[in-house]
Structures are given as structure tokens and as C-alpha cells.
Amino acid sequence: MPTPVKKQVHLAAQLPGIHNVTVWSDPRSESQISIDSFIRLAQTVERGKFDFFFLAEGLRLREHKGQVYDLDIAGRPENLTVLSALAAVTTHLGLAATVNATFNEPYEVARRFATLDRLSGGRAAWNVVTSYDAFTGENFRRGGFLPEADRYTRAAEFLLTARELWDSWSAGDLRADARSGEFVAADAGRFAHRGRHFDISGRFTTPPGPQGHPVIIQSGESDAGREFAASDAEVIFSKHNRVDVAREFYRDVKRRLATYGRSPDDLLILPTANAVVADTDEEAAAYAEEISRELVSPQTAIAHLEAVWGRDLSAYDPDGPLPDIEPEDDAHFLKGHSVFRKGRAETARQWRKLAEERNLSIRELVIEVGGRQTFVGSPQTVADAIDDYVQSDGADGFVLVPHLTPGGLDDFVDRVVPILQERGVHRDDYTGTTLRDHLGLATAPRPTTWGGPGRPLRTGSDDKETSA
């Protein structure tokens, strides 16, 4: 046993299949929608003993200048349906999905996650997000959108309500006692929730799976998001940052847990990252450059610029300098993309400054601001960087997003994982069966203390109201 005991690196994988994090022009790039792609990647990362496989959510195709955006990979499945299929062809891998708290209702979402947890033998996780854009709302009965200020109050009450539904069946309520003729306990699944966003009552259909509650994930680094994560989530997805910034985020989020009677290990911080692995550091660096160029085609560069400038820039040369005209701040050119929603005049100013300082063309600039591959190098270099990042409390692990579908993590699993295993920072094999086991989380949920941000240490199961 090595001393001192090192932190375990928690690894997750996302099949992006969308946006310009995926290179579709590479001959090795296969279908983003075929079930074979999902099975292939899930089985690869299960071989690498990853904690979980994650699928984001798509509710509206992005649009650019009033038309479907056609430059990036697009088209994806309903994520829980795919994960339910994957549960049949994997045995240990956790299965995580983003499901929106704005365009859904607690009864149905709680039921679907309880189903996935049952089907998978305790491997379900839910990334709770809210949307507030009317653009997405156009696909839904309810239309409209949620006032931005209500995002976290709705998310918190939604989650609380879901927890009440999962808790509405007690262990042993499913009797199935043929001799006595009692199939269920009287009142199994009975619930009532009266709150600001939800006022529902009746009987819940589905006894919870082995985990009781699925693992709860929160995405986002805002103050409200951090607080929500501290009170209610077990994993937080963040953006990858320079390690000093990441350490500050890590300290801040972990510090908040005590307020809610939770220990630092009750919430794992997993930034999104990508890894480019090759035989040597030089080859990896060259490959990373190539990926960046492929992700930002000349057309993509202009489209991104148009999204910030809010005007047609199709006459500009992607290999030429940035436009000297000013952005239109009210025009919405790229819809359904969260990055360019705000502060475009300021973004344009910064981009111009950067381009001037570094003498970058439009395309070079977009490549530069689009973010670099996170971990680039030989297997040894990448393993070192990941291990250091985790041991120095920049993160508890990473959600790896491959740039190729579905084979983009083959090299990582075959070449980096064994080094991490050798160092004793990544499991040689699964030691438990549920995702909670993999993440080192308590098996039992804490039904009496949930309650959302600003509601520390609530007790008493009679307190079912949220009046944020």
C-alpha cells in the first residue's frame, strides 16, 4: 500500500455527437445516432472501469440566421431511452443523463429515473438543469419559458418533489406474498407535495431502484449553481480551467458543503475535459493542432463570428483579419447556443484585441478562443497531468469528451488508464455494483435533510413545502 493514500481519479465519458467538439470530417468518425456507436463507447469505457457514461440533452436544433445550423454534427437520441438500452449491454458502468426541470414534470421524470435505476441495477444519475429560453419552449406544450430568477427555485423544488416520490415507497412495500395474497402495502407510493411550483398528490407507480435515489448532478459554476450543488448534488460538472482557478473553485464548493451537514466527499467535482494521446508529446501536440483546425472549418469560423457580431459576415475572408465594424447587440444569429447569449459587444472587443496582439486571422482567432484540448501528450504525460490535477485538488476526476465518435477514447482506455491503475489512483476493477459505490457515496439517501439552497440541515419529514 502506497503512503500517503492518494485520491482516486474518477473518470466519466460523454458521447457528445454534437456541436463542434466532435470532428465529423475524419474518416474514422462514425454515426452519431446509431445504437452501435453508443454501445461501442460505453463498452470501451466500462473496460476502462470508468465511473459513468453521460449523455447531455437536446431539445431544439440550433439555428443560425433563421435556419437550421448545418456546420456541426447534429442529431441525437432521447438520452434516457439510449441509456436504458445500454444498461442491457453493460454491467457496472453508471448511466447519467441531463433532464430538464423546465420542460418536464416531477412525476414523469422521477418515474423514468426510478425505471432506469431498476433496469440498470442501481446505475442511474440525473444531471438536473433548467432552461429559460423561449426558443426551446417552442417545441413544448407549455411553450413560454421560466423567468431566469426562478431557475434554481424551480430546479430545487423539482428535485425535492422527485425525492419525495422516490421516498413514497418504503423498503418492503412490494410484498409479492402469494401465500397471504398481499402484493403491495396499503398506501405504497402515496404522496402529496404542495409548493410554489408544484402542487401534486396521489400514488407513485415505481418503487425506487437499488440506489434509492439516482446520483444527482449539477452543472454550472455560478454562485447559485454552486450553492445548489452543495445542498443537493453529488457530482458537479464544471468547465476545465487553469489548475489554480480550478483549485479555487474546488475549495469554494467543498467549503459550502458543511452548511448542509455534508462532508467534502459527498460532492465530487468533475470538470469536462478532453485528451489527445499519441506515442510522443510532439506527435500528440501536432494531432491536437490538427483537431483544432478540423473543429473550426473556414465556414465555422465565420458562423461563430456572426454569432458574436449579430450580423452577416459571409463576405469576410476566414483567413483575413477580423471585421472593423461594430456588433449589433440585439440581433440573434445563433439560437440554441448558450455561449453567445450575453455581452457580445465586450466579447467582440476582446476578440479584436487578442487578434491584433497575436496577429490572428478570423479562423485562427476562433480556434484560439474555442479552447484547447485539455490533456495533450504521450500516455505518460497525460496520466501525470490528470493525476497531478486531482492530487492537487483541482478536481476529483474528469468527464472526458472524445473528439471522435465512437472510437475517441480507445487510446485513453488502452494506454492511459493502465498507468493510472499502476499508480493506484484508478480502480483495477469495480468493487461495487452501483454508481454510488463507484463514486464512494452513501448508499442510502438522506430523505429528511434534502431541501435546496439556503435550507441547511432541515429535519422532519412533515416539512414538505418549499416556499423559496
Binding site: 442529431g75 431498476r118 407549455r142 398528490s201
Partner: protein, 439 residues
């Protein structure tokens, strides 16, 4: 991969045979029903629910009552159904606990209660099977049409073309309180005495359900085949001219589109509905590819087929273009020894404390007797049957290992799957997207 035109026409004749019933309605294809019936393929589906359709099934020897909400139980059942070369299996579902009463929840503890999301269950079973169609039920009153449509589309991708969908309206007003967004009609004891009076107060929900199906079908078509071009020269992944807003505006909701999910292996997953009365017949005529009906004898079969044909006529559906497959539902208790199934039913009724009642006809007998009945009914113009095993796995196994071989011996049922898609099994062609430019 998809059905042949020949098969489509053959069964169209069978379907429209109903038009030769007492009403004297015109057969739109002009094909005499009797000419094709002898050779029309027989379609067999199985409806899976809990421990079987008898309320006391869960207490039978061989039942697995503690596993009804576990994946392995369902995998065993569906693999068995596939072994019997069945066209498809259906999965019941509702957004509320089961109840012995059609219109109200009950507080009974002596029957199977509890369920899982049927779409997710079906998706889980997809990689464990290769041929059989998977048809989950979903509620269309309390759910979002967009979510439902992409869920079924995803099931079609996950099963490589074997997805169906049974849309179901909420008939229990109490389920609305699980969502708190609307109220739905509360049926009375008087309403639930016969199917026509049940469906009357639910007409608006059926109309809304038809809108949900319409929106789903538009979303399924919203990506044409070939929308994904991966054209490196122009940098375009999509041909945006082949991805369409649907701009659906119904009386109850609107959906902008397009779908987020590309066109599926079947193009249009199969829509299956259950119908007992005029309003649901019209729903089926408007919305479904397959309708399950519940006649109780030979004469009733002819009468119901005529009613369906009238509904098809009223809606103005051209069944030569869009065939409607008609299956009759039957609850079945099967034993090889003559009389044994009836004795078993009596015993089950005794355990349940009441005689089994059902919307569907209840058959007890030997597999050979059931084969006689099915072939006789098939000759009246039905396309096939959806059998509801009274107990699981007993009556399912009797279907797959005794009934099916009996039908095969008589040359009346497939001896191997000739297609890998559900549409293919049913002889239905893969339709082109309605947005695809002709020529």
C-alpha cells in the same frame, strides 16, 4: 428490410373485407375480401402485463411476483416471445397505479400494483432481441408530445427498426393530480357500463391524442433520409433543406420542430391503438397503423370490422395507400389436456374471489382449439391477433411452443422471420418523408 407491396395489397383486401359486412359499405380497393384471406399472412402479437392478465396470475405456481419490476423477468418473457416468431409484444403503462376499476384508482393490495416506464423497458429489451417488434404504451394526455416522439424515435434507432408505440389517453381523472397542470373528465359509474358511453366524455382527449400522434409523425418525418451529408468541401454536416420545421399548431398545443433525432430505420415507427367504440375507431382510422379490437365472437368480429371500415370511410383514409392492420384481442388460457385450461381458470377465479371479466374475449382450451378459432376468425377479414396471456410465463410458453407450431403445421404462420423491422413483419412499406420532394 421492408415489406413487399404484394403483402400490403394482400392484407388490404383482408382489412377492407369488413366493408362487406351488414352495412354494405364500399370496399375502396374493389378487391373481394375472401379472395385473399386464405393466403393473407396471419399476424400474432402478445400483450405483456405484470404476471399476466388474470388478476390472480401473480399467485400461481411458476409466477415470479417479486420480479415483475425487474429487467431479467421481462428479458425472459420477450426472448420467449421472439422464440415464437411473434410480430410484436406490447407493454402496458399508465401514469398512475393499476386499478380494478376503469375510471377510478382503488386501494386494493391483493393485485399487482407498480410499474416502470414502458418506453425505457422496451429500449432495455432491444439489444437483447433481434427481430421482435417492441410496442410500449405511453400516455398522451399528461406528457409532452416532443419528448414522446423522440423517445419512440430513439427506440426505433436502439432496436434497429422494431419500434411501435401505443398512444393512450388518460381515462382516470385521478392521474391528473399527479401532474397538477390540468383536469380531465371524471367518468361516472354510469359511463363505464359500455364502451360507447365510456368514450363519449373522453372525445376531447381522443382528439388531442390524435394531435399528439400527428405531431409525432411530423417530427419523425422532419429529417428526410439523406439529411446528413458530411460534405467536407462546403463544411456542411447537414443539408438544411432536408431538415424541416414542422410548425404544428393544433387546438391544444403547438410544436415548432424539427426533431432533434434523425430519421429512424423505419421512418415512421408503428402506431398501435386499442379500440372498443366509435371514437377510438375513428382515432385508429386517423392515427394508427395497427388497431386492436375486442369482439367477443365471430358475429361480433364481423360487426366490429364493419364499424372500423365505416370509421376509415368517414375519415377518408385510403387504405391502399395507408393500410390499417386489424388485430383482435383475446385473453388466453392454454393447456394441452382438454378441459384443463377451463379448470385452471376456475381455480384462478376462486383465488381472485371473482370471475374474470375483460374488455376482450376470454379463451380457454387447447392450443389446437385456439388455432381453429384464430384461423376461422382470420377468414372473416382480421389480419391477426393480439393475445393476452392470462398467466405468465405459462400461457406465453403455450403460445410460443404449442400454438405457434400448431399454426405452422397448418401452413398458417411464419417459420422464420423474413424481415428485421416491425413494419416488415406486418407487410408495411417504409414510407418516404412527407417533406421529401417528389421525383
Amino acid at each position: 428490410m421492408t415489406g413487399t407491396t404484394g403483402a400490403t395489397h394482400g392484407t388490404t383486401g383482408g382489412t377492407s373485407g369488413a366493408a362487406h359486412g351488414p352495412t354494405g359499405a364500399i370496399d375502396p380497393t374493389g378487391t373481394p375480401a375472401t379472395a385473399s384471406d386464405a393466403t393473407a399472412p396471419l399476424h400474432l402479437a402478445v400483450a405483456l402485463d405484470g404476471a399476466g392478465w388474470h388478476p390472480a396470475a401473480w399467485r400461481e405456481e411458476g409466477a415470479r411476483p417479486g420480479e415483475l419490476l425487474d429487467a431479467a423477468y421481462w428479458a425472459d418473457l420477450v426472448i420467449e416471445a421472439e422464440r415464437g416468431l411473434l410480430d410484436f409484444v406490447t407493454f402496458e403503462d399508465a401514469l398512475g397505479l393499476q386499478s380494478a376499476a376503469f375510471h377510478l384508482p382503488d386501494d386494493r393490495t391483493d393485485q399487482v400494483r407498480g410499474s416502470m416506464d414502458a418506453v425505457l423497458l422496451a429500449a432495455h429489451l432491444a439489444p437483447l432481441t433481434q427481430h421482435i417488434g417492441l410496442v410500449p404504451t405511453t400516455n398522451v394526455t399528461h406528457t409532452e408530445p416532443f419528448h414522446v416522439a423522440i423517445g419512440i424515435a430513439t427506440l426505433d434507432h436502439a432496436s434497429r427498426g422494431r419500434a411501435g408505440w401505443r398512444p393512450q389517453i388518460a381515462s382516470r381523472a385521478a392521474d391528473a393530480a399527479h401532474f397538477g397542470r390540468r383536469t380531465t373528465p371524471q367518468l361516472t359509474e354510469g359511463d363505464v357500463t359500455d364502451p360507447e358511453s365510456i368514450s363519449q366524455p373522453l372525445r376531447a382527449l381522443f382528439a388531442e391524442g390524435a394531435e399528439v400522434v400527428q405531431a409525432a409523425r411530423l417530427l419523425w418525418d422532419s429529417w428526410e433520409d439523406g439529411a446528413e451529408i458530411r460534405d467536407a468541401a462546403t463544411g456542411r454536416f447537414l443539408d438544411r433543406d432536408k431538415v424541416h420545421h414542422i410548425d404544428f399548431r393544433g387546438a391544444n398545443f403547438s410544436v415548432k420542430g424539427p426533431s432533434i433525432t434523425p430519421r429512424t430505420p423505419q421512418g415512421q415507427p408503428l402506431v398501435v391503438s386499442l379500440a372498443h367504440a366509435t371514437t377510438p375507431y375513428e382515432f385508429a382510422a386517423l392515427s394508427s397503423d395497427v388497431v386492436a379490437i375486442t369482439p367477443h365472437d365471430r358475429a361480433g368480429t364481423a360487426a366490429t370490422l364493419a364499424q372500423v371500415a365505416e370509421a376509415v370511410e368517414r375519415i377518408g383514409r385510403d387504405v391502399s395507400e395507408r393500410p390499417l392492420r386489424i388485430l383482435a384481442d383475446l385473453i388466453v388460457l392454454l393447456d394441452d389436456e382438454p378441459g384443463a385450461a377451463a379448470r385452471r381458470k376456475s381455480r384462478l377465479d376462486e383465488v381472485a374471489g371473482a370471475e374474470l371479466t375483460s374488455d376482450a374475449e376470454i379463451f380457454t382450451g387447447t392450443p389446437a382449439e385456439l388455432a381453429d378459432l384464430l384461423l376461422d376468425r382470420h377468414s372473416t377479414g382480421l389480419d391477426g391477433f393480439r393475445l393476452r396471456p392470462a398467466t405468465l410465463p405459462h400461457d406465453l410458453t403455450a403460445i410460443t411452443r404449442s400454438l405457434v407450431p400448431e399454426l405452422q403445421r397448418r401452413g398458417a404462420f411464419r417459420t422464420e422471420y423474413a424481415s428485421t423491422t416491425l413494419r416488415g413483419h406486418l407487410g408495411l412499406a417504409r414510407p418516404a418523408s412527407r417533406y421529401a420532394k417528389a421525383g
